[in-house]
Amino acid sequence: MTEVAGAQELGKEQLLDAYRTMRTIREFEERLHVEFATGEIPGFVHLYAGEEAIAAGVMAHLDADDYIASTHRGHGHAIAKGCDVKGMMKEIYGKADGLCHGKGGSMHIADLDKGMLGANGIVGGGPPLVCGVGLSAKVRGTNQVAVSFTGDGGSNQGTTLESMNLAAVWDLPVVFVIENNGYAEATSTNFSTKGLDIAKRADGFGIPGVVVDGHDFFAVYEAAGEAIRRAREGGGPSLIECKVNRYYGHFEGDAQTYRAPNEVENIRQEKDCLMLFRQRVTSAGLVEDGELDRIDEEVKQLIDESVEEGKASPEPGEEYLLTDVYVSY
């Protein structure tokens, strides 16, 4: 029986939940990859496959009334925060009963009732928002926490850097998760941040910053647990940089010629978060292979149904065009 860091805290139920979250994201994304190629899915689609351990590891610590702000690569965050998977798929298909009535699409999936402040088409759009949620929690005296997800590329956006300082100055219950997947579109992090640890930037603002392996659910879980606990207890903001990889292109349709041959294959074989998770929990005797297999099947069915319903659902009619610009008219 191997020790699994962080796993002590987690009961079996939670381990299975975490696995289900990651598997759901993976299945959702891989299926979108296939369906996008048919031409039926409109717009830009950015897949989160490969990065599931981050969403699952962070969200395992968040309650329903905690908030997150996401990115253009937001499906994983949304699923992990509890957004309805079928509603999401319908949204991605642009349908009237999608999570946002087809008005948002992949890049704007949101569900405020679930504390999901939205995927975001603007790189660096989210960090300011979570400062506001943190302020709200502080002023209203709740113990809510807000987490923003930002890419390596997004860590160079002024809004992100400003927000770290604001959160520090206002001493907010906020966590900045940096998903460093090595690229911003085609541009390598070796160039755009000189390959330096983005976590180091936290020092300059006087907040704790750590680097973790974003393929490792338990590593993320542990670091996020500490940061979120600190935030909840009034200890202020933190930054967690997760080093990770994306399995697909920047968006669907990206030929990815900027990557090394076999770059992704190697990672899939050595560092896949689902594989690592399964190895650890089964070899530690915490979960049986069969239990995970069952989840795989359930998830597959859920995604099958989601795609079917996504395709079959009605388009929004003209009456949707002018509504919901304002509350009052």
Partner: protein, 339 residues
Amino acid sequence: MARRITYMQAINEALRQEMERDESVVVFGEDNVGGTGAPGEDDAWGGVMGVTKGLYPHFPDRVIDTPISESAFIGAAAGAACSGLRPVAELMFVDFFGVCMDQIYNQAAKFRYMFGGKAVTPMVIRTMYGAGIRAAAQHSQSLYPIFTHIPGLKVVVPSNPYDAKGLMIASIRDDDPVIFFENKVLYTMEGEVPEEPYEIPLGEAEYVREGDDVTIVAIGRMVSMAEQAAEALSGEGIECEIVDPRTTSPLDEETIFESVENTGRLVVVDEANPRCSLATDIAARVAENCFDDLKAAPKMVTAPHTPPPFSPTLEDLYVPDPERVAAAVREVTGAGARA
């Protein structure tokens, strides 16, 4: 209601009364307290012009200074508004919108539509606009046309103390993001303002003056320019009707159209630069909708297509003044009548 206070005091009173009424109202911005972290007096500034002065001692947890990080704190207003507060954030001068516009227009203003009606984002951005204090090109602009262009935002431009108070209270209570333009020259303008809280609905224009010869639509500080012009013109036998839209988005087209139907003539006075301005917006809408009522070409009086100049002599030439308004009125009433 004989009490007279200034435009600035009216805004301050609105903020105080709303903060008293509703614990979810918070006020923040650069130096909105003034002196945070410093050894001297707290509440030393109350904003660069003193508009929020005196709030901090009453609501020490809800009046908050910020670093100079407009994107972060204006965005924080949006995030706070989505999660239980009604923030009133200050963008000190609207000229600074260029460092934080994304959070205003792509985030706060679009949440509701993008999210299929799920978001409610009750926030107010207070901001100063306009020329007249020799603050030069980056502190004197009247950028409300840019914000009026943006769906999802409401844009308020009060022209007097009474409206300033009522519109501020309505803006805070409104469930949509509102940008509230305060004219820096009007801060010292006095007027009768009731002590009790009251709302002026967003989207309702006001007849500032009635008259049958020409409709002058004037925005913000330009209302008083129009009034001075109208006074002078009355002596020449020209009776101007002045409409103050009070909010540029939503715009009360009906009132403007109604007035033009009566007068048949339109002059729009807008302190902003001319291209894609409120002046063009109103003139075009009137031309499209009241064409058959128009007896003369609509006329626009605006700043020129230049940045605001520093020199007092140039700045005084830059801002539309009563003489230019009067000249435009004489032109539309004198020439080219076709009725």
